[in-house]
Amino acid sequence: MLETDLKKELQLDEAEKLLPLVLEIIPGHAAEGLIDIYEPGSYAAKSLKKLCDKTLNKKNLSIEEQLIVEDIKRQLDGGKLLSRGQEIEGTALEYAVSEQTEAGEKYLYIPIRAIKPQEGGILD
């Protein structure tokens, strides 16, 4: 997402700030990641980084989710969590956008990518 789009999308109104928050931590450039849902009021005061740590330390994961977590941890070995092209810092609400399910239920969504840096260098 481009920065200009980001500014438009991140302007949440007061009612939207009371929606449940869906956090998705995606390993690398995968299409899908580990999903976690935070109830309204449970995330507002917390930093996004802390929410991510909590999500990554979740117990009772399915086998598929465990594989995703392994993949995320592999990326985070020397890597970082990015949301919308930026390293995450601050609260979840600063990164969330409002979306809705097929049934019309609204929620806030933050996609976060775990990216292991590749600095580029000299072609061997």
Partner: protein
């Protein structure tokens, strides 16, 4: 020779030899009169097998060649026509596209069922489940438009009884085609027989392929026809793209592919915190060495040496894998995408070129047109 059969002439078959109508002019007539004495003309079918000219119903025919020899050697006599007939035969049994080999050799399977699921959205809503191969084929079917004809071909593909019958005949050493009977016949009839005989030879030569096909198709016997249609279509076209992930088969070798993922547009910043909007490109890896990520389009970037297509992305501490597995294909694509989108450090100006002009006398790529 086959042109003579195509001409619809009246021909004679005798003891596997084909006799053609004799051209007639005064000189030939004189020669014929010396060959055919009245007493030898009695009982024309008695003992003339070794003769070069025969007479039947007041017409003369000259000995041509053994029909079975023509069938056996047709590949050398007329390679182009043989190939055409071979393709025709293989197409009839859905053996043409090397579909079975493609299914067996696994590259396409790896791409479709192990690499692609990593890069495409598989689940609706918030559920995150691993999809079965069937579910992936369903998903592909929803996202690409498979032409109707492939559904018909899928039915033929799944009907393995004719292939089993051919194998049975070959194993029993039964002649695949009975030779035509002696006597007068038309060129058209003989041409049809010849065509079937060449087909029978092709099938006999392709016995290994048929056995393999039967084996593969038996494995696929429980798959839905629409899935077979999807696979036939993909095998035929050799390319597909879903959700920014795709692959293209290389022309030179049907089993080699370029597997790619679109980068999407992205922004990089220079030393002075100015933004540059980079357009989408396809970061790819080949299924043949070197297993390094490259950009398919004509493209420029600090990590690409020039402004042209097919350039390898320069990476730090990257050891290309010795062989490609699904995991490694994913890894190589990820490294390339990460390098382009996140790898440039404006403070260090890493890579071949810097986004901002350094004002040194070194030829470099200019990115001013990407500034926003």
């Amino acid at each position: 020779m086959k042109q003579l059969l195509d001409a619809g002439l009246e021909l004679v078959l005798e003891s596997d030899f084909i006799y053609f109508p004799l051209l007639f002019d005064p000189d030939i007539e004189k020669e014929i009169q010396t060959v055919f004495h009245p007493e030898e003309n009695k009982g024309i079918f008695n003992g003339y097998e070794s003769k070069a000219v025969i007479k039947l119903k007041d017409k003369y025919f000259v000995k041509g060649f053994r029909l079975d020899t023509l069938v056996k050697n047709y590949e050398s006599i007329n390679p182009h026509s043989y190939q055409h007939m071979k393709n025709e035969c293989l197409r009839r049994y859905q053996l043409m596209r090397e579909v079975d080999e493609t299914f067996l050799e696994g590259t396409l399977r790896t791409i479709l069922f192990q690499v692609m699921p990593h890069f495409i959205k598989k689940n609706k809503g918030l559920s995150r489940k691993k999809l079965s191969d069937e579910a992936i084929l369903d998903l592909i079917g929803q996202k690409i438009n498979v032409p109707e004809g492939y559904y018909q071909e899928a039915k033929m593909f799944m009907d393995i009884d004719p292939l089993k019958e051919i194998l049975k005949n070959i194993e029993n050493q039964a002649p695949l085609l009975e030779p035509p009977g002696n006597g007068l016949t038309s060129g058209y009839k003989l041409r049809d027989w010849f065509r079937n005989a060449v087909h029978a030879k092709v099938l006999s030569d392709e016995v290994d392929r048929i056995a393999k096909s039967v084996q593969v198709r038996q494995q696929f016997s429980r798959i839905k026809p629409e899935h077979i249609a999807t696979l036939l279509y993909i095998t035929d076209t050799g390319s597909m793209e879903i959700d920014g992930f795709g692959f293209i088969r290389k022309n030179a070798d049907r089993k080699e592919y370029h597997i790619y993922k679109h980068s999407g547009d992205y922004i990089l910043k220079d030393y002075y915190d100015r933004s540059y909007l980079f357009p989408d490109c396809r970061v790819a890896v080949s299924t043949y060495t070197p297993f390094r990520p490259f950009v398919m389009e004509k493209y420029k970037h600090p990590f690409l040496l020039e402004h042209k297509s097919g350039q390898e992305i320069c990476l730090k501490n990257f050891n290309p894998p010795d062989e490609l597995t699904a995991k490694r294909i994913i890894g190589v694509l990820e490294e390339g995408l990460t390098a382009l989108r996140y790898g440039y450090d404006p403070r260090r100006r890493n890579g071949y070129h810097s986004l901002d002009q350094l004002w040194v006398h070194i030829p470099t790529i200019d990115f001013e047109d990407y500034r926003i």
